[in-house]
Amino acid sequence: MKIEFKNISKSFQTIKANQEINFTIESGTIHALIGENGAGKSTLIKILSGQILPDSGSIELNESPLELGSTHEANEKGIGILGQDPLDFSNFTVLESFVTGHPSPSFIFSKNKISKNINKYLNQFDWNINLNSLVKNLSVGERQQIELIRLLDKGTKVIILDEPTSGFSLEQKRKVFKTLKILSEKGFTIILVSHKIEEILEICSRATIMQQGKVLDSIDLPTKPQVLTNLMFGTQDMSPHKNSTTNKTQKDLKISIDISDFSHKSQNTISEKNTSIEVPQKIILGVAGLQGSGADKFIQNFQNDPKKIIISGKPYFNNQNITYVPSDRLERGLFPDMTICEHIALAYNENKTVDWGEMEKLSQKLINKFGIVGAPNSVAKTLSGGNQQRLMLSLITENTELLLLEQPTRGLDIQSANYIWGNLLSTKEHKMLTIFSSTDIDEIYEYSEYIICFFNNTIVRHGYPESLTKDITMQKISGN
């Protein structure tokens, strides 16, 4: 099935997720859709699958128009998505989950016929799953396998795979790829949305690169990995990093970060100290990695277990001097119905009673200091994303020695982002260590004094910016 995107545009309030998207996917190909987070890939495929209605534009399947905005229609035309969340039913057996919502429901579902069907596929792909086990007992990879079979059984002609392989083992991945190749030869159209350059080069015949809502280019594959990464991250300023920490490295007391909980690739053969990373005090440590790479988990890890960071041979941080700022502000970082003043009270009040007069004064002071557009009695959920982030920053108490920031400028406009960094930089000397994660390479290189790269839940590289160029980092976080 040939798919043509014609001038697809979609905006969410001020964010232009898709702008005049135009490209073609030929029938019987495996086509890669790549780009950084926020490039608009997710929106585009949701439009294709009928989950989102675009503002303008059209999609043609084999030269005839597809009715947009309807999952039912997309289903009818044979479009199916397999994502990281297989959207199945954890308490059901594999068989029951498979059969739910089956397109041609017989009143009584016959286990045998359907089991035979599924087993046919399982044999064909050389997979092994017990149909009577509960879905929740399967690994993510196995759940995705079943979901893939379900899509095939349904007669799906266009299979969209949205970052599908993070849950697969190497072995399982190999089998999936073999299957995909067979399917494309049979005429199926497969769209692979992925960050992983290696995989893309392995099976895709063409790739479309998106950036900031627009199509950057469409190229034939295979090609050099370099070409792809350059396109993915745009033309980068490859000049050496500005902030230099060389004058710090040798003399200052070191901080030792225990990373034995994380799998990591050893970088040199000599090193015995592979289980920890050593950095100077009072620096900003940047953790680079794409979404789901483990960068965020790395940060959460220290909130749960601060003893992993050792200074002068002893764990230095505890509950009292750590502040953790999660990436999902309203879900885990703030209390949506409570006011700014109440948040300040929760963060700063040490006594058993609350002196609201004092708290209000403090709130106003912090509002001014951090430029929050709001009053002490403004409710958190009414603040804009940028102001929510500023609020979270204002809650960082003075005795914080370890500051953990997950994606600190995610979803923010330039102005807010700059403001936040201005603040963080000016206070970094007061903290022992600041660790932040980001999917934005520029941000990592702008502010980090030491960098850790994550890919697939593994630390693939770490080092000072001088020795770890942007180029290498980009390659590493894409899995090269």
Partner: protein, 317 residues
């Protein structure tokens, strides 16, 4: 009839209202809707069934009226929850009080009035089954249908496509939606169906088990039904076992009444500690391969709560 057979008949008969109520609520909760108004609904549908019977002189119309009323109440709860996003539990709870007291008021003129009875029906073939046949299948329509309802509802929920679809809505509405199932419609239909069954349960009470109407006629049965639904692991067969077990206890209490007063007062209160115990056991069994509970018991008591029970579902976009 020997005492043994009479006892069985009594148990089965006395349990029929709860069978309807428990199975009805099981279906409703399987689709994710909690009908906390059960206590009030049973009262008012018992009244409605009886009153309609008196007025029309036909118990069958009484049953229909009770069923429709039960369905109507469920419909009210679901609509308020869907349209206004008011918590199912809040509205259910308030309705409990309202319907209970309404039944007291409206039922005043029906207290202790006699009326037409349900006919005895003899089911061919089945009533020839030795021992239980002549007892159970030689009774009124409600008792007989309550028995058939058990395997029927079990089969429906677990062996049919419709049953799986409805259960999927209670497990994960988002996934069900992605599969093309209309979540709102499904919830509405089966919550109302559940309500209808509960209504029929009310009628079964006032038209047979405890004939007539009185203040607080079905008192506590609604709460007990809610408890048994959980105790039964949201499974009609296990729920029915719980109902019959409770029925047996009731019969026992009646027999012992001369010996110990007050046991009949304590009896209705027993299902709850049992239910709490069950939930505690289920939780432990789920967490750490279970507190040393033997596997057999675990299989017996394991029953997972429909994940999306009571949660107000909002479709994205």
């Amino acid at each position: 009839m020997e005492t043994y057979e009479a006892t069985i008949l009594t148990i089965v008969t006395m349990s029929s209202p709860l069978i309807f109520a428990v199975i009805g609520e099981t279906i409703s909760e399987r689709v994710g809707i909690v009908n906390l108004s059960m206590e009030g609904t049973l009262l008012i549908t018992a009244l409605a069934g009886f009153a309609a019977t008196i007025v029309t002189n036909s118990p069958y119309i009484g049953i229909i009226c009770a069923g429709l009323l039960g369905g109507g109440i469920a419909l009210f709860i679901v609509l308020i929850n869907f349209q206004l996003q008011i918590n199912q539990i809040a509205i259910g709870f308030i309705l409990t009080i309202l319907l209970w007291k309404l039944s007291s008021y409206l039922g005043q003129s029906y207290v202790r009035i006699p009326g037409p009875y349900l006919d005895i029906i003899t089911v061919p073939y089945l009533s020839d089954i030795p021992f239980i046949g002549p007892i159970i299948f030689n009774s009124n329509i409600l008792t007989i249908s309550s028995i058939f309802l058990i395997p029927l509802s079990w089969y429906f929920l677990f062996k049919t496509q419709l049953g799986i679809n409805l259960r999927s809505v209670g497990e994960n509405p988002a996934s069900a939606d992605a599969r093309g199932i209309n979540v709102m419609k499904t919830r509405l239909i089966y919550a109302v169906l559940g309500g209808i069954l509960i209504g029929i349960g009310g009628a079964a009470f006032s038209l047979h088990v405890k004939y007539g109407w009185s203040e607080g006629h079905t008192i506590n049965y609604g709460w007990i039904a809610l408890a048994i639904v959980i105790f039964g692991g949201w499974n009609p067969i296990r729920g029915s076992i719980g109902v019959y077990g409770f029925g047996a206890l009731q019969v026992l209490a009646l027999k012992l009444q001369s010996v110990t007063i007050g046991f009949s007062q304590i009896l209705p209160l027993i299902p709850f500690p049992l239910m709490i115990l069950t939930l505690v056991l289920i939780q432990s069994a789920n967490k750490n391969s279970g507190l040393g509970i033997p596997k057999i018991i675990r299989i017996l008591i394991l029953g997972n709560q429909p994940q999306a029970l009571g949660i107000t579902y909002k479709k994205n976009g």
